[in-house]
Symmetry: C2
Subunit: 316 residues, 2 copies
């Protein structure tokens, strides 16, 4: 590896497509830019190339490009199978196209895996060797570091931790299965529980005929609405069951929570903590275990794409 590696990182997010150039050992980017992901011009790849060219460092040699995209993606081949944000990219060989255009190696993985990698390398997980990262947002996603290496799996489809069955006959998940952790503990799961209860005639300050977002439900809970408090309490209970499973499975030294729903504070985490302690089979799993908030916020995708490219170059 060259002494001072320079990486261009790309994050294909729901609202913004971002690119940044990073010099090794510097946390702040040399340059960065973002544009809206959706646009009237149809060719998303040309727009991506333009953003990358705009942040390309002058008078410096760039060593590799890293890309973070919502899944499913295949990190081994560099193919985006589909991404909700750019519909035209189906089985889109993004790393081959970037390498062809820019003439340097390109690497890809999904946003949750790379957020986990970023938190381990630059964020809340620094110094830990076994990291469990969970994003609790519209869905529940996972990124796992084992012995300082990112868990990717044979087809690159690890670690879809939100799609673990915790209650075989439970509510419907976005993926079509029942009783997944995501069906209880995601924003979507919280909204579904409230909608079902309102439909059944349950009293609440929330309006039965409106779409109540997870954020609106959290605001109602803070005003004392019993239904809203219960919705978050159930989400926290199942999150505790899921995390207990993951402790038994991976035995990490830190659990890091990212994503909008994880910002709910005691509303979610009071019942989470009770449930986690109740469901861990041996207290030794909790010895020295750190429960932390993600530190990198919106930069997790860029920093994860950067970390992936740096790791791949250094293991060459």
């Amino acid at each position: 590896m060259a002494l001072m590696t320079i990486i261009v990182a790309v994050d294909i997010g729901g609202t913004h497509l971002r690119a940044a150039a990073y010099k090794q050992d510097q946390f702040q980017p040399l340059s960065h830019k973002r544009i809206e992901t959706r646009a009237s011009e149809p060719d998303a790849f040309s727009r991506l190339v333009k953003v990358i060219e705009d942040i390309w460092p002058q008078n410096e040699k760039v060593d590799a490009i890293g890309v973070s995209s919502p899944g499913p993606v295949d990190p081994h081949t560099g193919i985006i199978m589909m991404t909700p944000n750019i519909k035209e990219w189906r089985d889109f060989h993004i790393t081959a196209k970037l390498t062809e255009y820019f003439g340097i190696p390109s690497y890809l993985d999904n946003d949750a895996n790379l957020a986990g990698l970023a938190e381990w390398k630059f964020g809340a997980g620094r110094g830990h060797h076994h990291v469990l990262y969970l994003t609790v947002s519209t869905g529940v996603g996972g990124g796992v570091i084992i012995d300082d290496r990112l868990l990717q799996g044979h087809h690159g489809l690890a670690a879809e931790l939100g799609h673990s069955t915790v209650q075989a006959d439970g509510p419907l998940c976005g993926c079509g299965q029942r009783g997944h952790l995501e069906s209880f503990s995601s924003g979507t799961g919280i909204e579904r529980f409230v909608a079902d209860q309102l439909k059944a005639g349950r009293e609440s300050v929330l309006h039965p005929n409106k779409k109540n977002s997870a954020y609106m439900i959290s605001e109602a809970a803070k005003q004392g609405d019993a239904l809203s408090i219960e919705a978050y309490s159930i989400a926290g209970k199942y999150l505790g069951i899921g995390v207990a499973n993951f402790l038994h499975t991976f035995d990490p030294s830190i659990v890091i929570f990212g994503g909008g729903v994880s910002q709910s504070g005691p509303l979610l985490f009071d019942s989470f903590e009770v449930s986690l302690k109740e469901h861990v089979m041996h207290p030794r799993y909790l010895e020295g275990l750190v429960i932390a908030k993600a530190e990198l916020g919106d930069d997790a995708g860029l920093l994860g794409a950067r970390a992936l490219a740096e790791l791949k170059l250094s293991s060459k």
Copy 2:
């Protein structure tokens, strides 16, 4: 690592305490011996030392000792926290004692992890880089290889896959929790289901006031006993749910089944296969996936202890 490493492997099993000496690149041991685990002489460690001395290769330098023991153990410190077979070993620093006595490095891990490691190195998992090994026996245990490395975890307590909650309000597990995979799919789980149903007055060829073992239930099932068939079918269904979870989590290229209950054939695996296909969230997880039987039988513990010692020496 010396060119021709010699390893002494020890397996602390339920009925037998076994030791063998292995020369690198030779599958068959140079020597091996087994004695009964329980004996009237109280000092189990002296008996272990004696067995090891009996198989110690003459005129050869032994490089390391590997030990397989039922858990919980701490592979990082080499301490057996407790083992059901030798009650006097509580927080027993077995690697320190062996190293002190024999003057060479010693390594320890639990039997399920080491059976998984053995199947990857010498058995059904050869050539795979991502292996999920499950033993389905009195309990359900797991051993996981990720990118050619054994998953051990921060405290060395990974991968207790039998203790994953798959039905939050499910039956009691041996560990005291509810609804774990082990509470449905182990021999104990099968026996409990049958006992509960007989108690409730269900018709069966099995005797309601006797202890019916998982093996007796499988024999009754083969004779067409509806209750016994149902018991195995439920075990297989939940095994499918559990394995679907582990595919989403680890994305392995092979799943290997060991343990007595996994010898039940279609009785268990017909419903397992239906359930696995039903619960996998994306068909890509099943692309090229191999489902295999463990190949090493009773030698898995010895060969796993050997593989662990060889790996540790080569990563020094």
